[in-house]
């Protein structure tokens, strides 16, 4: 059992300069209320780990617009000209990672693995600076685990202990990030009583959630 916090209180848990993972894919499945509160709070100098930076005004794009971010680790920034502009003017440093490798690196961080061996990126710019090892005669890059200070995730439903259920393509990086940070904060579209979510349908165990944001005001 835990007490719900406001989006503003959630934003106050994110210090300037923190490394923050934010769930979502082109803004779908992002924790929109926490993101808005971060912009209001005026957080600065974040390292943002996310699949993409969505579009200006959308999802984590709001953090880019508001100048909250100084470094981005993502698989794609092509849909956000503001990210590209700030990258070219050296306001934001960007590290591009293949999407599957990004997912596995975050999963490894949450699962206590040092990293994974992948063929993706071998011999390309994405493989520069990586160790190469042979397993069964095949070459693989060693891709190190990725962790964060804070993970901000969004779900469709939460119960009182923070068990989470996601909806369709809004799941994406959320369950991976919920495991990979020192502190995980979740927001959900609804909070339901304990026992309403079946053990087999829960995607993220509540023990991984440090703070749950109060339900949105729908009525």
């Amino acid at each position: 059992m835990r007490s719900a916090i406001t989006p503003a209180a959630a934003a106050n848990l994110v210090p300037d300069g923190a490394t923050v993972m934010v769930g979502g894919f082109m803004g779908v499945g992002s924790p929109h209320r926490i993101i808005k509160a971060l912009v209001v709070r005026g957080v600065r100098n974040l390292t943002l780990i996310a699949n993409d930076t969505a579009r200006p005004g959308v999802g984590v794009g709001k953090l880019i617009d508001a100048g909250c971010v100084s470094r981005v680790i993502a698989s794609h920034i092509g849909t956000n000209p503001e990210t590209q502009r700030r990258m070219l003017s050296a306001e934001i440093e960007v590290e591009l990672v293949p999407q599957g490798t990004l997912a596995e690196r975050i999963r490894a961080g949450g699962a206590g693995l040092g990293g994974v061996l992948t063929a993706t990126g071998l011999g390309t710019m994405a493989g520069e600076g990586r160790m190469v090892v042979q397993v069964d005669g095949r070459d693989f890059l060693i891709e190190p685990a990725l962790k964060a200070d804070i993970a901000l995730v969004a779900a469709r439903s939460a119960d009182y202990i923070g068990n989470l259920v996601y909806s369709l393509t809004a799941r994406n990086f959320n369950p991976l990030m919920a495991m990979a940070a020192t502190t995980t904060i979740a927001e959900a579209n609804e909070v339901v009583p304990l026992g309403v979510l079946s053990p087999d349908m829960i995607h993220t165990p509540g023990v991984l959630i440090d703070y749950l944001v109060e339900r949105p005001q729908l009525i």
Binding site: R55, S75, H76, I77, A103, A119, T120, T124, L168, T169
Partner: protein, 218 residues
């Protein structure tokens, strides 16, 4: 038939029954419109679903359900949702039968470049490197030339997406297969001469005796 439709129709002939297929954003998406009748094909979107369908009616869109380009889609009965690690486990684990991607360049070894133009366009590789490294068959669907310049070249001048050669290149002029002995011209588009394809190509094509005509279905 415009060149996009021609390419999409030809790529659709590569679809097989009961297979999992990923279509890239843009031209490759059109392939879904030309699935040969009688085939059951499962389309994956790498943001985390197998079995998505057409955009739903106005006012019925689910904000939690889009394709990898962020466009609203629907779900067909039997659809499955999953997280990004599982999505790329499907792609990289050999479970994806075919991917269709756009291309900026393909070299004589069949190597694809499609994710950046240094100093100009740095969108990021998204899932492209995973798809080209992991899918069982990789089909490049692109225009044969860009502003009159060949996109099929001797050596890549753009950063490679993967060292692994693609399976097939489909353009509005031709179907070309990378092999151990070079790029083999398999088919030409209707009314396109072999010489025209060779002239529009920036590297040597192997031209067998039996070059066919691009089949585009019904």
């Amino acid at each position: 038939m415009d060149s996009k439709e021609l390419i999409a129709r030809r790529v659709a002939q590569e679809l097989r029954n009961n297979t999992l297929v990923n279509l890239g954003i843009g031209l490759p998406t059109l392939v879904a419109n030309y699935v040969p009748p009688g085939l059951e094909v499962y389309f994956q979107s790498e943001n985390g679903i197998i079995g998505f369908g057409a955009r739903p009616p106005e006012g019925m869109e689910d904000v939690h359900l889009t394709d990898a380009g962020g466009a609203f889609v629907s779900a067909r009965p039997g659809a499955v949702a999953f997280d990004s690690a599982t999505s790329f486990a499907l792609i990289r684990g050999g479970h994806l039968d075919m991917t269709v991607l756009g291309g900026l360049q393909v070299d004589r070894h069949g190597r694809l470049a499609n994710w950046m133009v240094p100093g100009h366009l740095v969108p990021g590789m998204g899932g492209a490197m995973d798809l080209v490294s992991g899918a069982r068959r990789v089909i490049v669907a692109m225009n044969h030339t860009q502003k009159g310049q060949p996109k099929i070249v001797d050596e890549l001048t753009l950063p490679a997406t993967s060292l692994r050669p693609v399976t097939l290149i489909v353009t509005e002029m031709a179907v070309i297969e990378p092999t151990e002995t070079g790029l083999v011209l398999r088919e030409t588009a209707p009314s396109v001469m072999v010489e025209a394809v060779c002239a529009a190509t920036g590297t040597i094509l192997v031209v067998p005796n039996d070059v066919g005509v691009m089949s585009v279905g019904n």
